[in-house]
């Protein structure tokens, strides 16, 4: 029997850390659009981690404190 979506979700997470996914899970993916979408989303999630766009900078108060500490 092919693994369930629940089992495949866990296997896909493990695969992101280098563990082989296995033939049965591959077969499941070949017939399950939803789990294929999960794999795509995990890949997008990984890519998004590389960006710090939109992150706030130091506050003026913190900058003043740091400058004082470096005097």
């Amino acid at each position: 029997m092919l693994p369930s979506c629940k089992e495949v979700a866990r296997l896909l997470s493990d695969a992101m850390d280098g563990r082989p996914i296995g033939l049965h899970a591959k077969l499941h993916l070949s017939v399950c659009d939803v789990c294929r979408r999960l794999l795509e989303h995990l890949t997008i999630l990984r890519r998004a981690c590389k960006s710090d766009a939109g992150c706030p900078g130091l506050s003026p108060l913190a900058k003043a404190r740091l400058k004082k500490a470096l005097e």
Binding site: M16, L45, K63, L66
Partner: protein
């Protein structure tokens, strides 16, 4: 090497963003940047011009963040997260209709806003789950190194990462990718 007085204006924002996106707390991120500058000041004789000052300081900050995590891991028990939320995603063997991953529009997957949405979603994770994710996915440690840094067995790290990924995926789908979401 440049004058330390210029460091805050030259590198402060970049280092703060790096720290803030990982520790999720403004005061801790500011403290880590300050510790980084002071450590750089003390050890500037060791700086070699092979890398840029920013790269060198980022390396120092990275180690400070690991130390911060190690301290937090000791203070926060890692067993405080039971994972029951993941069980709710499935109806026995399959995704429930409400929780099944939907198509994500390509434009939103490539937008700069995605990184900001991810950081907001990280704030909703429990501390152990968030730390595992940050070390593995943002710091890029491999799984054995991340498990060692957190002081957990590799099998437990795999559970924490599974929870983090499914929760963040769900959060992004609802708050970034859904029609009408920012």
């Amino acid at each position: 090497m440049t004058d330390p007085k210029s460091w805050v204006d030259a590198y402060g924002d970049r280092l703060f963003r790096y720290a803030f996106s990982r520790v999720r707390d403004q005061a801790s991120a500011e403290d880590l940047v300050q510790e980084t500058f002071l450590a750089a000041l003390e050890s500037r004789a060791k700086f070699k011009a092979e890398s840029s000052e920013l790269t060198w300081m980022t390396g120092i900050l990275r180690n400070k963040i690991f130390e911060h995590y190690r301290k937090q891991s000791k203070e926060t028990p890692l067993g405080d997260d039971d994972g029951s939320r993941e069980d709710d995603l499935f109806d026995g063997r399959h995704w429930t209709p409400a929780e099944a991953p939907r198509e994500w529009p390509q434009a939103k997957a490539e937008s700069a806003e995605l990184g900001a949405a991810l950081r907001r979603c990280l704030e909703g994770l429990t501390a152990p789950v968030a730390r595992a994710f940050v070390l593995r996915e943002m710091e890029g440690l491999d799984a054995p190194a991340a498990a060692e840094a957190l002081g957990v067995p590799p099998a437990h790290l795999a559970v924490l990462l599974y929870r983090a990924r499914l929760r963040l995926r769900r959060c992004l789908e609802k708050n970034h990718f859904a029609p009408g979401a920012a």
